[in-house]
């Protein structure tokens, strides 16, 4: 067991966890951040995707201690002062979900994609999202939502604040 300080959604949180405890379970069960989902525990479905220093990361395969010192962003951290991020807004407006269980992971994977490619091609979208499963089959709407989010972000460029985390 180790006492860890994790930077989650801009806040330093202290938590006690086993040396090899997956970040997924620490977020969900120790920090109450249940927006991050368990889908397979094997890095195959993407439901547990979070951002670690801006990179889409499978929290089920990431030991929590390995993320000490990194900036972790979960679905709960995307909304700022009651305003949804462009990706969240686009998903909501496109109704790009059915049961919604994959939605957190989809939104975070898409958020990472748009940081890398502000205006991704369809191939880049498929490439980046291929590891995320939507068993309800809303893929066409998710692709449309990502395209729309890219447009919204491009349109608001210039007025946007600097990103709060850096690649690394």
């Amino acid at each position: 067991m180790a006492d860890l300080t994790l930077n989650v959604n801009g806040t330093e949180l202290r938590v006690r966890a086993a040396d090899d405890a997956p970040l997924l379970w620490v977020l969900r069960n120790k920090l109450g951040l249940t927006g991050t989902k368990y889908g397979c525990g094997e890095g195959q479905c993407g439901a547990c995707t979070v951002l670690v220093n801006g990179q889409a990361t499978r929290s089920c395969l990431t030991p929590a201690p390995a993320t000490v010192g990194a900036k972790i962003t979960t679905i709960e951290g995307l909304e700022k002062a009651g305003v949804l991020s462009a990706v969240q807004k686009a998903f909501l407006e496109a109704d790009a979900m059915q049961c919604g269980y994959c939605t957190s992971g989809m939104i975070l994977a898409a958020t990472a994609l748009l940081r890398e490619h502000a205006h991704p091609s369809d191939e880049q979208i498929v490439e980046a999202m291929e590891g995320n499963i939507c068993r309800c089959g809303t893929y066409p709407r998710i692709v449309a939502a990502i395209r729309r989010a890219a447009e919204m972000q491009m349109a608001s460029e210039g007025r946007k604040e600097e990103p709060e985390y850096v690649h690394g």
Partner: protein
Amino acid sequence: MSMDELMDEAALHEIRDRIRAFELDRRDFLRLCGGGLLVCLSGAQAPGQESGRGGQGWGGHELPREVSAWIHIDADGKVTVFTGKVEIGQNIRTSLAQSVAEELRVGFDAITMTMGDTELTPWDMGTFGSRSTPTMGPQLRNMAATAREMLVEAAAQRWSVDAATLVAEDGMVRNPKTGATLGYGAITRGEQLTRTLMGDPPPQHANFGRVRDPADPPLTPAIAWKIAGTAVPKAQGRDFVTGKHKYPSDIARPGMLFGKMLRATGFNATLVAADTAGAEKMPGVQVVRDGDFIGVVADDVWAAEKALAAIHAQWNVPEQISNRELFAAMRKGAAGGEASADVEQGLSGADVKLAQEYTVAYIAHAPLEPRTAVAEWGQTDAGQAKLTVWTGTQRPFGVKDDLVRAFRLSEDQVRVMMPDMGSGYGGKHTGECAVEAARLAKAAGKPVKLIWTREEEFTWAYFRPAGVMEIRGGAKRDGTLTAWEHHNYNSGPSALETPYNVTAKLEKFHEWPSPLLVQGSYRGLAATANHFARESAMDELAHELGMDPLEFRMKNLNNDRLRAVFTAAAEKFGWGREKSTADRGFGIAGGTEKGGYAAACAEVEIDAAKKVRIRRVVQAWESGAIVNPDGLRNQIMGAMVQAIGGALFEQIEFANGRVLNAHFAEYRVPRFRDTPEIEVVLIDRKDLPSAGAGETGIVALAPAVGNAIFAATGTRLRAMPMAAGEIFSS
């Protein structure tokens, strides 16, 4: 759907024995509500409960036990609707609320749906069979129309005017003569208005909806709908993009522990020995053992996983046959051998004949949220044990029954709640996870959460039945069908009946009494298998005849609704505009089941290595009056995407009682790259009752794709999945 058909379906869902008498006590519920307006439903044999002001039968003991409450309006005009149906991604929370808002004449946002809570909602058989829209919809509309009538009457009494001169709109009653208005909240404030409708003796009608009484208030026709029939956004949609929505696996209780279950190493195994000493020594870990039931609890899920891994168990797994021998075993085990003289005669008079066999594999539902339950033991007011369980299920009342039986409790000692879950597709009808969590919690003396792993979900849930379909058919040179014979072994009777005109026919389902794997419901049930077989066979006959496959179908089709979706799909797709080539094929298929009509046109691309890719699919859909076009489009599109898996690559591989591909890395489900360009054409028949749309949208894709592959390559694929590993072979 007739009662017999419903019972057949219930048998397929393995729930026939669980259909039980309705017996709920509403008194606690009424006490909770406090005041306002309440519309209830009562069994026909119960004493009548007339509407009354001043609290007759209210707040206490006079109400009969069989009364169930459906709609409550409080002093703020807030409307609460109670239904045993559950939301699993099919958008029924939204569409039912639209129907209530429509009849009640309130805004959509005034409605709160309380769903799938065995203590608060009326008994319900379960959310399956595409029954929510056609049965619960009219049921709730009737309740809402009654509430509206009561509000108008109450306002009329207050104003001393004739109720017939008043109108209800926008959450208020208005007197057009004086311009005076009274909000619903104001009408119910300080009042206790109840009305109990009669004549719904569950369980016979519980899943059909109450039979309408001539005295019931008229329902608003679809042509006049203002809220129903529109693309109202998903209820509480914002909570799904912010992570706030609490799924069953997100429920947390004070002092809650985490459980893990020891599983056998194969199906039908017996436990030889289990050494739990190592796990018991681990700090904070408790091992729970009750015969073959072995589980662990710990204050941390990771600690529970490690403790489980420390248990050394020996299992005796009997030798069992593999999926390679499946169909031979099925043919041997299921009784066949039925013949029809009419069919033989029809075949002998045919110019073109077909006799073929088609198969579908066992597949898994693989809902992204695996089975999960949080169980907590407490006490009832009377000091008895009380078990509360939050779990993901399509049958909260069925799970309650399972718990009552498993722990020998009475009805009022168990409450099951179903937070909107991470879907099911027909795969979450059973309560085993809830029973396990409850057993662990009982031993631990604390609430316990149990989430099945992906491997457990792939292995210990149940499967969509595999099946063999034999078809014989014949047609005249001009395309007229002369005979049709369709046998289904094991997969099920859904959509077995051909919609095409043919008098000499035999359609028969053959049960397999001892299937290899535990099998149960799945989106569309056997309609997928039977449509795959029939629509492939129709295509084969068309090609034999040298007729266009659409023309051949239409020649033998009188059903206007099915004709309409074929026409719509073909038009939108541009059917017949281009000819199939060796690397590009076009196929068409369609059918009907459960009041839904689907037709799909598919375009596939075949590369030199025989790798198949679906490029484009257009599907036309009709299921009566559309309640929410956006939700409907989402459902139909999703069903088409899910259908790709079963059509091309999904199948459970097993040998010696073990599932060999119990992981997403090995069991391939459709992903972004597999998704073609999809177009959905919706036909809105406002003149027809709304049917369910959660299932039948899945049936047309596989045969359309198979027919397209044939059109390009001349290779007929008669086994689903048609291209496991992407490369297809005949």
